[in-house]
Symmetry: C2
Subunit: 171 residues, 2 copies
Amino acid sequence: MAEQTPTVDPITLEVVDLMARLVGLFHREYEEAAAARSLTGAQAKVLALLRRGPMPMRHIAQTLACEPSNITGIVDRLEGRGFVTRESDPQDRRVKLVVATDAGRSASAELRESLNFAREPLAALEGEERAQLRDLLRRMLDSTGAGTGPSSGDGGAGGAAKAGGGTAKAG
Amino acid sequence: MAEQTPTVDPITLEVVDLMARLVGLFHREYEEAAAARSLTGAQAKVLALLRRGPMPMRHIAQTLACEPSNITGIVDRLEGRGFVTRESDPQDRRVKLVVATDAGRSASAELRESLNFAREPLAALEGEERAQLRDLLRRMLDSTGAGTGPSSGDGGAGGAAKAGGGTAKAG
DNA sequence: GCTGAACATTTGACAACCTGAACCTTTCAT
DNA sequence: ATGAAAGGTTCAGGTTGTCAAATGTTCAGC
């Protein structure tokens, strides 16, 4: 906090700007792909998380950066459609493990494969450039220690964060 | 559908994965920064769009990829807090131009500057590497024709897309 | 000039997402 | 055994988003 950065590197600013547009693109693609399978974005994210195996609700909430009470509803709807089931953890009966059903797994897999995001914009780069990009991104992410865990797997379009009723009080 | 792409370039896959994590990070940061100023993500996005000048509601809806009726509500709340005003376009009285007030402009500017995302992960890169990253991202985005227009300016974290009631019918 | 199609915005109903506080059950330390 | 702590759920309340049906405005064609 002691450091004053009144004017940021102009290149940095532009990168942030590009990133914002990329985020927009990615987010849109993801929601559309989910909607095409009658899933909402949030439901798809949870389902994607479950591809690695059963997971306690609390862990889901942490990964998605939202309140646990929120997950309850999402899992309710997912369960109502037969995409997941709740099983209580024999180790700790407070915990409920959310498990993807076959339908859930295959829906998530389909969704992941339908994500054209990879092919479209990335096709504009040469092989070596892609490797360059990969290295740069990797270094950025490593620096933040933003590891959700093992990386490859979910195509989750990102965290949820505080937005709703709380701080923002409208007229 | 005719094209078979069973196995994508492994580097591409990894880039997509890294991108997804980055998108998540960015998204979260953006929402947090907005919440810190008592704004929701959607409100911040609209405000960011308005940094370039007044804009018809219809255009806002197009840029954010959502229904115009949705914008009505967001602008309502923004207006209720004195961040924007509605003025009818003298050229076409059907159109309402949304204009950011001084408060709105400065809130958006503050938000933009508070985005630590730039400093944190981007600090891990050298100056030249940042330029490299910028060029690569630029090429990716140009290829998709995802130009909202002149690029630099808004920090809008992206589109909205279908999520709600429509296709997803819960139990 | 008048009529009707097309457009921009709004309204209302409804579903999903999200937070925050209160509550229940289970676990664990004392 | 008792009480604090943790995992989930429920409930109330606000925001975002969709869709369908208004309302007001513009524009083409007659």
